[in-house]
């Protein structure tokens, strides 16, 4: 290993820090010209300056190939933070990686200045710098990806919660109209949601309406039964409505036993039942003209 080579890059960085920073900023602003809305020049300058405070000392250690070592930790952590915040802010992956890659040009031009006459040395330095900045750039992309995935996961959960709304039909009667295909993830969320709602509203009857559910397989049927059992344990009653003829047939064929669970063909029937249970009766009087 040649001991003089690694320090060239660090030397160049130290000697030309300010000009490199200015050039680097110019490159970034040019690449991000459309994204002034997401990050201001002031913040960009601050991020770039801080990165250099980690980058230069790490280069000086002589290790330009392995960024998983402790000397590169501050730099990688900082890059991680930058990537994560850009992922959340809505930058694209290349806009995020640009932060690192746009440092190449300013660095190379200073290296050329210093080593212009020594072609072999210049080639070696530029190669080391390229490999290093590529690794760091790829690292930002990885962190970015992970952060985006977390955002998506969170949005999926929010959508799940939105799509299983519990509505209050009357004092003490709530309903959960399910729409669309039920998978185990969704049914789980729905179950927890409904039970928590029962406690929050102090409702004695919950109606789960499956009119909008095209198919019910054994797994879904089991979840429904579990929900009913759990509600009963808590001291409330849970009834299932909206069971269409095809679903009734499927369930019998599958051997699903609804035993002592109250089921009704329509939400209207379920509501009438619920009123009777809570001791309410409906009287008809002359409609208002």
């Amino acid at each position: 290993m040649t001991t003089t080579t690694p320090n060239r890059i660090a030397d160049v960085l130290a000697r030309h820090e300010q000009p490199i920073l200015e050039d680097w900023l110019r490159e970034q602003l040019a690449a991000l010209s459309a994204r002034q809305d997401l990050i201001s020049e002031v913040d960009l300058r601050r991020q770039s300056t801080e990165f250099l405070t980690h980058f230069t000392p790490a280069c000086r250690t002589g290790n330009l190939t392995d960024i998983t070592t402790p000397e590169w930790k501050p730099g990688c952590d900082f890059l991680g933070d930058v990537s994560r915040s850009r992922a959340i802010q809505g930058f694209s992956p290349s806009e995020t990686a640009t932060f690192v890659f746009s440092l190449k040009q300013p660095l190379f031009s200073r290296l050329r200045q210093e080593l212009g006459t020594d072609a072999a040395a210049l080639a070696e330095e530029m190669w080391s710098a390229t490999v290093l900045l590529d690794k760091l750039g790829l690292y930002t992309t990885e962190v970015y990806q992970k952060a985006r995935e977390e955002v998506i996961k969170r949005q999926q959960i929010e959508m799940l919660e939105l799509s299983t709304p519990v509505v209050k039909l009357w004092d003490g009667i709530i309903a959960l109209p399910l729409i669309g295909t039920l998978d185990s993830g969704r049914t789980n969320v729905m179950m927890e949601n409904l039970l928590q709602n029962i406690v929050a509203t102090g409702s004695s009857i919950a109606i789960v309406d499956i009119t909008g559910v095209p198919t019910v397989d054994t797994l879904v049927a089991q979840y429904l039964l579990k929900t009913v059992s759990a509600a009963r344990l808590m001291g409330a009653e849970c009834i299932i409505s909206g069971i269409r003829p095809q679903i009734a047939q499927t369930m019998v064929h599958l051997g699903v036993e609804f035993g002592n669970v109250v089921t009704k063909a329509s939400l209207a029937d379920a509501l009438a039942y619920a009123f009777r249970q809570i001791g309410c009766s409906i009287t008809k009087s002359a409609p208002r003209a």
């Binding site: 179950m191 039970l195 928590q196 759990a230 344990l233 001291g235």
Partner: protein, 131 residues
Amino acid sequence: MERIPILKVGEFLLVSIQVDMHDRLALSLQDDLTAQVVAARAKGVLIDISSLDMVDSFIGRMLGNMAAMTSALGAEAVVVGMQPAVAITIVELGLALTNVRTALNVDKGMALLQTLVHESSVIDSHEFHEK
């Protein structure tokens, strides 16, 4: 040793389980409750488990026992405040708890006790008159 307090509320007893019970504590609660039901001539017992964040088969059995013992002593028992996560877990675990009456909260539990006690006293007076 710590004991779970049992409060007298009119003709009923209220037990509020607020700590993470270890087995010995649960057993002494059973003893205390049966003794109190007799001593206070309570007509009903309300067991509040709204602070219990876990019910395993032992605690489930204990709740079932308390309900059965109370019933054997001629009083009614209602368990209230089961948390949703606990209910879901009990169902998955397969705990039956069939002989235990439940209500959503203390208010509803009290109302249920009143109904149950009133019903049984109506039956009692009915039988008395027929004799």
